[in-house]
C-alpha cells in the first residue's frame, strides 16, 4: 500500500472509523482495476479536504457490534459496542473531534448503543457538512442512481442524500424501495429475500445510468446483483467529481 502524507498544520481533525465490513470486503467486480478500495479512497478524500485523520487504536479489533445484534447475540454486541465507544472517546479526545463512520448502518447502530458524549457522524452528513465545503466539484456526472439505505431513512437523511448527490450529478434517480433485503449477510444466506426486495429495481434505473451509490457496502452487493450496474459507496462519487 502506498503511504500517504497527512496534513499536519491544520485544525481540521477527524477520527475515521472504517467499518469491519469495509476493512474486509474489497472492490466490486465492476470497478476499474485502478480504483482504490474504500478505506484507502476515504483516507485520500479526507486528506484532500484538508483533514488530519486519527485512526482508532487496534482498529482491527473493533466492530460496532451490529452483526452480532442482528443474529441475536446481544451480549457480544454490547461488549463490542462498549469497547468501540471507549476507544473512540480516547481517539476523539473525549468527543473533541467528530468521528466519521463510512457505513450508515454502523453509524445508526452506534448511535442507538452509545451513551457518552461522542460526536459520531454518518457518512452523508459528514460529506455534506464537513467535506464538500472544502472541495470544488470539477466534473459533475450526468446521471447517477442513489439509494437511501434503511438507516438513512430512519435518521431522516434521505433529503440530504439527494442534496449531496445533486452536487455531484445533473440527474439523480432516487431509488424507491423498502429494505433491499440483503441485510448484512442475509443476501448470501437467503438470496430470495434480496431478489424479492429489489424485484422492481431494474425498472427504476434509467438506461443511461451506469453508476449507483449508497452508504452501505453489503446493500451495494445486492444492488449490483439486481441492477447489473456498478454500485458502490457515495464516497467514490464525491472523490471522482472533486478530483
Amino acid at each position: 500500500m502506498k503511504s500517504i502524507k497527512m496534513n499536519t498544520n491544520t485544525d481540521l481533525k477527524v477520527v475515521y472509523f472504517p467499518s469491519c465490513i469495509n476493512r474486509s470486503m474489497g472492490k466490486n467486480s465492476l470497478q476499474d482495476s485502478d480504483d482504490l478500495q474504500l478505506t484507502e479512497l476515504t483516507h485520500q478524500l479526507l486528506v484532500r479536504a484538508g483533514f488530519t485523520i486519527i485512526y482508532p487504536e487496534s482498529l482491527d479489533n473493533h466492530c460496532c457490534g451490529m452483526p452480532f445484534s442482528s443474529k441475536g447475540f446481544a451480549e457480544v454486541n454490547h461488549a463490542q459496542s462498549e469497547a468501540l465507544e471507549k476507544e473512540l472517546l480516547r481517539a476523539s479526545e473525549n468527543g473533541k473531534y467528530p468521528v466519521l463512520y463510512d457505513m450508515s448502518p454502523c453509524f445508526y447502530h452506534s448511535k442507538e448503543e452509545f451513551s457518552k458524549a461522542l460526536k459520531i457522524v454518518d457518512p452523508i452528513e459528514f460529506m455534506l457538512d464537513y467535506v464538500m465545503p472544502q472541495l470544488v466539484v470539477k466534473n459533475k456526472k450526468d446521471t447517477v442512481a442513489v439509494f437511501p439505505v434503511c438507516s438513512v431513512k430512519k435518521i431522516g437523511k434521505t433529503e440530504q442524500l439527494v442534496t449531496l448527490s445533486e452536487m455531484c450529478a445533473d440527474n439523480v434517480t432516487l431509488i424507491d424501495s423498502n429494505c433491499c433485503g440483503f441485510a448484512g449477510d442475509r443476501g448470501f444466506l437467503i438470496p430470495e429475500l434480496n431478489e424479492h426486495g429489489l424485484r422492481e429495481l431494474k425498472a427504476q434505473i434509467p438506461s443511461n445510468c451506469k453508476e449507483g451509490y449508497s452508504t452501505s457496502r453489503t446493500c451495494e452487493i445486492g444492488f449490483e446483483k439486481m441492477s447489473g450496474i456498478d454500485f458502490k459507496s457515495i464516497f467514490y462519487l464525491i472523490e471522482e467529481v472533486t478530483r
Partner: protein, 703 residues
C-alpha cells in the same frame, strides 16, 4: 386436512394458478386471514390471485363446489368485513396497473394499488384521488371503494361514491360487467335481463315510496356506511349507474372489483391550518355548523382528552396543560392553489365564526413544524390510546355520525355513555363537518364480563345514535360483522328488506363474503372475537392495523411484521392453553424460515407503526432465544477475535475471487448452490457480485 370439497377446489385451481400461491398450511392461513378488525376467522384456503382471469376461475370453480369466497386487498378494515373461515382471495400483488386519461380528468386503478401510491402517481399533475381515509398509506383501492372509505377532507363530496366514474366487476357466476366498455354493457344488459329488471323494480319501488325516498336522501346527507349504498336508487335512473354506485361500500358482498375509474381531484398546493380552542363542546360544534358553509378543506374536532394525549409533546404549547376540562378544539384547514386565495379563505373562516367566543386567540399556520404538530395532535390519538392500553386488550374505534345541528348534544350524550360503562380511556374526535365522530377506547375480550360490558355499550350506542339522534352507526368504516346486527335497527324494516334483496340479486346462493353487512345473527358482533394474548413486550401493543406491511421487504415473500406478530401471538396462546399441540407443532414447523430467517430486521416497520413497534427488534430477541449455547460461544469467540475474523474474511474473499477468475461464473454458481443446498442455506451462497477481499489497512504507514 381439508375437507373433500375444499381439497377438490385446491386441486382444480392448482392447474391454472401457481400452487405456491394457494396456501393451506396453518401458519400462512392464519397470517393472511388476519385483518385490522377485532374479529378472527381462519380461512381454510388463501389464494394470492394475480389477475382477473384467476379470479374468474376461482369464482366459477367455487360456485360449482358451493364454497364461499371472501375478497380482500390490504386487510386494514376495522369492522370484520375481510375475514372468513372458507376461502380468502387476496388481490394485492399484481393488480397494480394505473392509467391517467381523458386529459388527466380520470384515473383507472386496480384494486391492489395503495391509496397513497395512487396519489404519488397523480402528484406531478397537481391531482389526487378523492377518498382520503386515515389509512391511505396502507389501504388499497379495492378496499377503499368496497368500503366507501373516507377521511378528513373528502367528506361526502369527494368520496368513492361521488368520484367513481366507472367500475369493472366479476359477478358470482364469473360474468364481467365493465361500465367503461359500451360493448360489454350492451352484452351484459342483453344477457342479464333478470338482474336488470330486479334493479329497475327496486328503483321504482323506492322512487314510488316518498317516505323511504326522503329517508334515504336524509340519511346520506351525513356520512353513512351502514348497509348498502341504496342512495344509488335515489340518485340514478339507469340500472348500470345504479349497479356501479351500489358496488361502492358493498364490502365485497356483491362482486369482485377488478378496477375502478375515479374522477381526479385537485390537490391544492398551499395548505394551512389552525388549532382553535373553544370553551365548551357546544361552542365548538356551533362553530362547526357555521364552518359548513365556509371555504374549509377540513374541520376536525378534538375533545379535552384528545388534547391531553399530546400535551407532553415537545412542540405542544404550555397552555395545553391548563385548558379547562370543558374545552374542545377544532382543527381547521384551508387550502388553495393560489396563496392569496388561501389567505382570503382564512379571513372568511374568521368572519364565519366571529360570533362564537374562542378560548384563546388563534392563527393559521403554514410553517411546516407547526402545521405538522397540529395534525400530529389529531393523528396521534389512536396510537396514544393504543400505546397506553393494557396488554391483551383490543383497541376499538367506533365510527358514528350525527346530523350536524345535533352534534354538540350527541357529543355530550356519548361522553355520558362512556362514563356509564366505565370506558375511562375513551377519547372523542372526528370529522366535524360531516357530523362524523370517532371514539377510541381499549376493550378486553378475554372474559365474559368484559364481553357483556361491550355488548351493553353497543346496544345503548345503537339506541343513542339511531333513536335519539337519527344518525349513522357506521359513518366510514363499513358495516362488516361489527354493525351487521344493527343495520335493520338503523334503517327500519322496509329499507333493510331492500338491502336483503340487493344481496340476493347479486349473490343468490349467499357465497360471496357471507355474514358481512347482512347477517341474521343478532349477536354476530360478539362472536369470533380475536384473542390478543401477551407474547413479548416489544410487540404486545400491536393493534394489527397493518400499517407496517407496505414497508416490509419480506411482505409477499414470507410474512409482514403484522403477520409475524400474529404468528408469535398464536404460538404464545397455544403454548399457554395447550389446546392443540398438533397445530402448535404445524405452525412451529414453518416458523423459522417464515418469521425469523426472512426478516431483514431493518426496522423500517417501526417508522410506519402508530405505536412504533420495531418488529425487527422482536425478531432479534426471537433469534436469541433460538440460539444454542454452542452458537453463543462461537459468537463470543468471534467477538473477541474480530481481527482474525476480518483477516479470514479478507483472505477468504480473495480466494473466492481468485477461483471465480479461473473457474468463471457458471461453475462457481453451481458449486456454491450445491454447498448452499446441502448445508440448508447456512453457508453463504456465492454470487458473482461477491466482493473481492480488501487489503489490510496499514496504519503504521499512515501515522
Amino acid at each position: 386436512m381439508l375437507t373433500p370439497s375444499y381439497q377438490k377446489l385446491k386441486d382444480i385451481l392448482s392447474v391454472s394458478i401457481d400452487p405456491k400461491r394457494i396456501l393451506t398450511n396453518p401458519l400462512q392461513t392464519l397470517a393472511y386471514g388476519t385483518d385490522a378488525s377485532l374479529y378472527r376467522l381462519i380461512p381454510k384456503i388463501v389464494i394470492l390471485a394475480h389477475d382477473e382471469a384467476e379470479v374468474i376461475e376461482i369464482i366459477k370453480q367455487a360456485k360449482l363446489l358451493d364454497i364461499a369466497l371472501t375478497f380482500r386487498a390490504a386487510g386494514t378494515s376495522l369492522s370484520g368485513q375481510a375475514i372468513t373461515d372458507s376461502v380468502l382471495v387476496v388481490a394485492t400483488h399484481g393488480w397494480k396497473n394505473q392509467e391517467l386519461f381523458d386529459n388527466n380528468r380520470k384515473v383507472k386503478l386496480e384494486p391492489g394499488i395503495i391509496g397513497a401510491r395512487a396519489n404519488i402517481f397523480l402528484a406531478p399533475h397537481g391531482l389526487k384521488i378523492g377518498p382520503d381515509p386515515a389509512s391511505i398509506a396502507t389501504c388499497m383501492i379495492g378496499g377503499i371503494v368496497a368500503n366507501n372509505a373516507s377521511g378528513m377532507c373528502c367528506g361526502t363530496a369527494q368520496n368513492s361514491y361521488q368520484t367513481i366514474t366507472d367500475i369493472r366487476i366479476v359477478l358470482h357466476d364469473g360474468t364481467i360487467l365493465d361500465t367503461a366498455d359500451t360493448e360489454n354493457v350492451a352484452t351484459f344488459k342483453k344477457n342479464q335481463t333478470l338482474l336488470i329488471q330486479e334493479i329497475e323494480r327496486l328503483r321504482d319501488q323506492i322512487k314510488g315510496n316518498e317516505i323511504l325516498f326522503n329517508q334515504i336522501k336524509n340519511k346520506f346527507k351525513i356520512k353513512n356506511t351502514t348497509g348498502y349504498s341504496i342512495n344509488a336508487f335515489v340518485d340514478y335512473q339507469d340500472p348500470i349507474d345504479i349497479i356501479k354506485h351500489l358496488m361502492v361500500g358493498s364490502e365485497g358482498t356483491l362482486a369482485f372489483i377488478s378496477n375502478v375509474t375515479f374522477k381526479t381531484v385537485i390537490d391544492e398546493k398551499h395548505k394551512s391550518c389552525s388549532l382553535i380552542f373553544f370553551n365548551t363542546i357546544q361552542d365548538a360544534c356551533n362553530a362547526a355548523i357555521l364552518l359548513k358553509f365556509a371555504p374549509v378543506a377540513a374541520v376536525e374536532l378534538l375533545d379535552r382528552e384528545s388534547i391531553r394525549s399530546v400535551e407532553n409533546d415537545n412542540d405542544a404549547p404550555d397552555y395545553f396543560k391548563i385548558l379547562p376540562e370543558s374545552a374542545c378544539a377544532l382543527l381547521v384547514e384551508c387550502r388553495d392553489n393560489d396563496l392569496d386565495n388561501m389567505l382570503l379563505k382564512q379571513l372568511k373562516v374568521r368572519s364565519a365564526i366571529e360570533s362564537i367566543p374562542t378560548f384563546s386567540e388563534y392563527e393559521f399556520t403554514s410553517n411546516p413544524k407547526q402545521y405538522y404538530f397540529n395534525w400530529k395532535a389529531r393523528k396521534g390519538l389512536l396510537p396514544t390510546v393504543g400505546g397506553l392500553r393494557k396488554n391483551g386488550t383490543t383497541v376499538i374505534i367506533e365510527d358514528v355520525a350525527f346530523p350536524l345541528p345535533q352534534l354538540a348534544d350527541a357529543c355530550l350524550a356519548l361522553k355520558d355513555l362512556f362514563k356509564k360503562f366505565e370506558y375511562h380511556d375513551a377519547v372523542l374526535f372526528g370529522h366535524a363537518l360531516e357530523g362524523n365522530l370517532h371514539f377510541v377506547f381499549s376493550q378486553d375480550f378475554s372474559n365474559q364480563a368484559e364481553v357483556d360490558r361491550y355488548e351493553k355499550l353497543m346496544s345503548e350506542l345503537a339506541v343513542l345514535v339511531v333513536d335519539c339522534f337519527n344518525g349513522s352507526l357506521k359513518a366510514e368504516h363499513g358495516t362488516g360483522r361489527n354493525m351487521a346486527p344493527f343495520v335493520e335497527k338503523e334503517w327500519g324494516p322496509t329499507a333493510y328488506e331492500i338491502m336483503k334483496r340487493i344481496k340476493n340479486i347479486f349473490d343468490p346462493n349467499n357465497k360471496i363474503n357471507p355474514d358481512v353487512l347482512i347477517n341474521p345473527d343478532p349477536k354476530a358482533h360478539l362472536k369470533n372475537l380475536k384473542p390478543l394474548p401477551e407474547c413479548n413486550a416489544i410487540v404486545d401493543k400491536c393493534m394489527e392495523c397493518g400499517f407496517c406491511e407496505p414497508h416490509c421487504v419480506s411482505e409477499g415473500l414470507t410474512l409482514s411484521p403484522r403477520q409475524r406478530i400474529v404468528i408469535a401471538r398464536e404460538i404464545s396462546r397455544l403454548e399457554q392453553t395447550n389446546e392443540d399441540p398438533q397445530r402448535l407443532a404445524d405452525i412451529r414447523k414453518d416458523v423459522t424460515y417464515q418469521l425469523d430467517e426472512t426478516c431483514a430486521t431493518d426496522g423500517l416497520c417501526a417508522l410506519a407503526c402508530p405505536v412504533h413497534i420495531d418488529t425487527g427488534k422482536f425478531v432479534k430477541t426471537w433469534r436469541a432465544n433460538e440460539l444454542s449455547s454452542g452458537n453463543k460461544k462461537v459468537a463470543a469467540y468471534i467477538g473477541s477475535h474480530i481481527a482474525e475474523t476480518t483477516s479470514i474474511l479478507r483472505t477468504g474473499l480473495k480466494i473466492v475471487s481468485f477461483f471465480h477468475t479461473i473457474l468463471g461464473t457458471t461453475i462457481m454458481t453451481a458449486l456454491s448452490n450445491v454447498s448452499h443446498f446441502i448445508t440448508f442455506g447456512k453457508i453463504p451462497k456465492w454470487i458473482p457480485e461477491m466482493p473481492k477481499g480488501a487489503d489490510k489497512i496499514n496504519l503504521n504507514e499512515k501515522h
